[in-house]
């Protein structure tokens, strides 16, 4: 636990130093996060070359602007940069006009990186994916479409044939269930 806290603190410090223009700190951030950032981008854009272009853009965005906006009260440095990476990947997908909803028709789980990319999943993430598969379908599907495929609430509504208000309720129930699972497991299996 102490090691985790230390690492989280180091990453936040690196991000703050990068925001101040420290190139060495920024490149250390690259070394720590680029693998996970590329993983999350690849699950969205599905193409290695495109994903690397998006990753490069995200890194430059961090350097130019976003790192300065990091606030530890908004989560860990890693979840902050991964959130930005995911958002930019979804932006790219929308701009390119490739709707991902059709790929998510069954939405049984979060999209996975193809095996040929030699993805590295931790035990924690495998446990998380397994727990997700156990969720009730009416909660899992909106959650996966929202988080995994970046669909808006309106798009999910159209995809599953339920009103937007119902989708919002199901998403909130999914969050409550996930939180229960994470908290139940303490600092163990489900927490990253």
């Amino acid at each position: 636990m102490r090691e985790v806290e230390k690492s989280v603190g180091e990453e936040a410090s690196l991000l703050q130093r990068a925001a101040g223009g420290d190139r060495a700190a920024f490149m250390e951030l690259y070394d720590r996060f680029s693998g996970r950032m590329l993983g999350i981008i690849l699950t969205v854009v599905r193409d290695r070359a495109t994903a690397e272009d998006v990753l490069q853009d995200v890194m430059l965005e961090l350097w130019n602007r976003s790192a300065a906006r990091f606030d530890p009260s908004l989560g860990s440095a890693s979840s902050w940069v991964l959130r930005i990476a995911r958002a930019r990947a979804i932006d790219h997908l929308r701009r390119s006009g490739r709707a991902s909803a059709h790929e998510a028709r069954r939405a049984e789980g979060l999209p996975r990186v193809e095996a040929r990319e030699q993805p590295n999943y931790t035990d924690h993430s495998e446990s998380f994916h397994a727990a997700l598969r156990e969720m009730p379908e009416d909660e899992r599907v909106p959650l996966v479409l929202a988080y995994g495929y970046g669909l808006s609430r309106e798009e999910i509504s159209s995809h599953v044939g339920a009103p937007v208000g119902t989708i919002k309720t199901r998403l909130r129930r999914a969050v409550a269930r996930l939180r229960g699972l994470v908290v139940e497991s303490g600092e163990g299996a489900l927490s990253a």
Partner: protein, 347 residues
Amino acid sequence: MSRSPLQFDPAEIADLYAIGAATQEEAEHFERMVASGDPACRKEMERVRPVMEALFGAGASVRPSEGLRERVAQAISSVGGAEVTLNFASSADELERGIDASRMRLVRLHPGRGLDSTSLADVSAAAVVAGSLVTSTGEKILPGARVLSVEAMRSASAGSDGCTVLAVRAAASRRGGALGAISGWVTAAAAFVLAAVGWLRPVGPLEPVIGSAADARLIAQLPQTKVIPVQAQGSMAPLGAIGEFVWSNEKQRGYLRLKQFEKNNPALAQYQAWFFDGSRDHQYPVSAGVFDVSQASARDDNGDLLVLIQPDLPIRDLDAFAVTLEKSGGVVVTDKKGLVLFANAGG
């Protein structure tokens, strides 16, 4: 009519934020509230934080190619910020009289860095001071701003390029009529914050825009084509009426013809075109993608600049057309601060 995020329940917005299901507007509002120390939002953030961390920690790690690290390292070593001259006024009167040349300072602004709170808000304030911001080549960017808070002047402490910052706001020119939502959009931009200041480079002669003269002629010859005057806005407001937007509803294509336009640095910022469709919520205009203004730009027979425009979604009833300057790659929902062109089809 969309609801303001201010009306949202912090618990609801936190749940949606945690799983990436909040809209950009909701997410930004929530982040601001948390960062400002709002107790309810902080409490909700703490509640959903484990979910957020677990979700983001559930992804795979994939090793980037070897060359990417080098490209990133090279890119950050070449990003040097923007060099501009700021005119600092101590009062609105001084702005109107003209500012003493001794107050002009050449500074290098780094987006998000080099200012006391290392936030873009400060960079923006510095830019808007300007009302009189000029580039180092003397080109005026923002005449006509009004000083609102002289006491907000403070010295930048971080970075070697420190500059003085005034909190000011450009005078908003309100518009009325049927296009209420749009006028609010324009007003917000008039009271705008020039987040783009870090992207501005010393500008030389304006560059033509990429386009095809043949395509433009074709569109112009179509029956029932609308020709709408285009007004420069925000940072480009001094350019005034700078051209027209020509739109064929039948072909769902159009083009911008501009007498002049400022070039952008595509690595940092791009222009993005937007349609206000009468059949859709004006708070969320339809994107028509991004475009650049560069050395490679083309022009028509008269030497005017051309940008061909094609919206991402069908436009049924064109109310207005706008162009914003956004981060490279564009955005899904614009925060409206980078408005540079506006064409009102409603007259």
